[in-house]
């Protein structure tokens, strides 16, 4: 693996991390805390929406984020030929 290749791999990794962490931040600190009072005006089933994000929704999103990350990274590993055989 050339140093350029290595740098590209790392940059692609960091880009993916940034996207996923932004989503992580928005659903928990954003929807669950900072915007929760405003979102509570909307209701989801019997849940006020902000309350739902804080006590249910963010957890579901966290799970999805990790599986998306694992999946994307595996593809990236293959693409750059750094996966484990």
């Amino acid at each position: 693996m050339t140093p350029e290749n290595r740098a590209d791999y790392w940059t692609a990794n960091l880009k993916l991390l940034a996207i996923l962490l932004v989503i992580w931040f928005i659903v928990s600190f954003g929807f669950g805390i900072l915007l929760a009072p405003a979102l509570n005006a909307v209701s989801l089933g019997g849940y006020p929406l902000g309350f739902w994000f804080a006590q249910q929704g963010s957890i579901y999103v966290f799970m999805v984020l990790i599986f998306v990350y694992a999946n994307r990274m595996n593809k990236l590993d293959k693409q750059f030929g750094v996966d484990e055989q």
Binding site: M1, R6, Y9, W10, N13, L17, L20, L21, W24, S28, F29, G32, I33, L34, A36, P37, N40, L44, G45, G46, Y47, P48, F51, W52, A54, Q55, Q56, S58, I59, Y60, F62, M63, L65, I66, F67, Y69, A70, M73, N74, D77, G81, V82, D83, E84
Partner: protein, 604 residues
Amino acid sequence: MDNLSIWTYAVVGATFALYIGIAIWARAASTSEFYVAGKGIHPVANGMATAADWMSAASFISMAGMIAFNGYGASVFLMGWTGGYVLLALLLAPYLRKFGKFTVPEFIGDRYYSQAARIVAVVCLILASVTYVIGQMKGIGVAFSRFLETSYDMGLYIGMGIVFVYAVLGGMKGITYTQIAQYCVLIIAYTIPAIFISLNLTGNPLPQLGLGSEYVRDGVASGISLLAKLDQVVTELGFKEYTTQTMGSTLNMFAYTLSLMIGTAGLPHVIIRFFTVPKVADARISAGWALVFIAILYTTAPAVGAMARLNLMDTIQVGPVGSETGNLLYEDRPDWFKKWETTGLLEFEDLNEDGRIQYYNDKNADFADTAKDYGWEGNEMVTVDIDIMVLANPEIAGLPNWVIALVVAGGLAAALSTAAGLLLAISSAISHDLLKGVFKPDISEKAELNASRVAMAGAIVVAGLLGLNPPGFAAATVAIAFGLAASSIFPALMLGIFDKRMNNTGAIWGMVAGITVTMLYVFQHEGILFIPGTEFMMGMKENWFFGISPNAFGAVGAIVNFAVALIVSRLTVAPPEHIQTLVEDVRVPRGAGAAPHISAALDH
């Protein structure tokens, strides 16, 4: 013995026999097929074991109680203790797996080419882990005091003895499979009562949906949702509205959540589990599986909390608020009430001597006049320890005895599995990292093992005695431990991977500054070593830094750590060439090599 006691002894005994049986079986097999070097543990199995290791008395016993009494405010625990897995999976697990060492201090010592860094990491790890064990001891004390119908202190002493035997035994066996069994016990014990209660109150068997469903009383639909009903019931008695009450300011909620998230990703006994899967790719997905298994409990907990609160209020407030017969006669109190009274965790005092129980918020000034009109002279439930809620919940809801027994067994499984994991982390830090790694490299294996037992016993005694006066509920105490891990270990690990320029001086000063700031703040407000009366420099709630509670301060400590580390490292000499190459190498999965042997890692 009554029927319930027989059930409890039978179920607790059976589960313990199961764990011991599995431990022996896994030990026998470990030499041949299970732990063939390098084969490692399947990510799903590892995820389940991680979930058991991770979900402690704080998650099982304490968290739903926190939710019951803090409503929306307790979301900090739900988001904090799950969101941390995102950080763990994305920022640490794959790289630490690639690095391929046994312990966290080993990584820090090697990455920062410094024994001093390794020693600082060990000290931080011990401080965080011992505080964590105090929280477990509180939970174990509560569970045993109820189970054996004795005082909390007595329950705690008995618990200390059992934890010691259990941890020493667990440390000698392959513990992964025991933890899988413990996960099964604790998740069944948690969800079965939740399903029953959800059916009772809403007709919906899924607690996650039940919490958002319509409240049904005695088969009659009420026309409003369960949460709306709960809001109504608690506000009528002067409490804060359930769905909007917060834990301090928005800033405090923010810091609290962040501290728990970062702490989750910095706790050594969790991190160590990701060292043991076969490949780097497995370390990534394994964190996802751990979170799936954890989420089953964490998405159920809000329903358990809310429904427990509603049932508790309904038990005491039997009629309309303020009516003459609206409150339960003390003589008519149910059996579960009497049993918890013997533990001292539930106390009633008849302030207005009318023989009835008034349970309301007497700190609410707006409600004071109304309460006076009713002839109420203060809240008569003088002690309601919130850590009893989950254990009392099935009894309050009138569920069958075998369910109640199962919950006790589940609580003990949660507390014991985590306490064992933590004690192993502490003892391995002392015997492997300090003794063998630094002070006496030529120590024999037998002496190392003995040292780890002594360290374990010492940790149990310290944590147990401090657990007599815990700095808060189990979940709140554990939150302090997370703050300590957040402010010390996590930044050092993350910078070690993502910042090639980070050197030993920066990392050491960062860790020292972060944990010192956090610990001083906690001690200032909660007392030195949490001993009441030793607060200093006006350690009162009014003087909290920007209103941030000591439990949430790990977030500030972590920021201090990052800032100090970055500044100091840039002012001092860059790390040597081979360390920079090492960091580059850690970032690439290929060539990770075989996974270390987990029981070997934990036996160290």
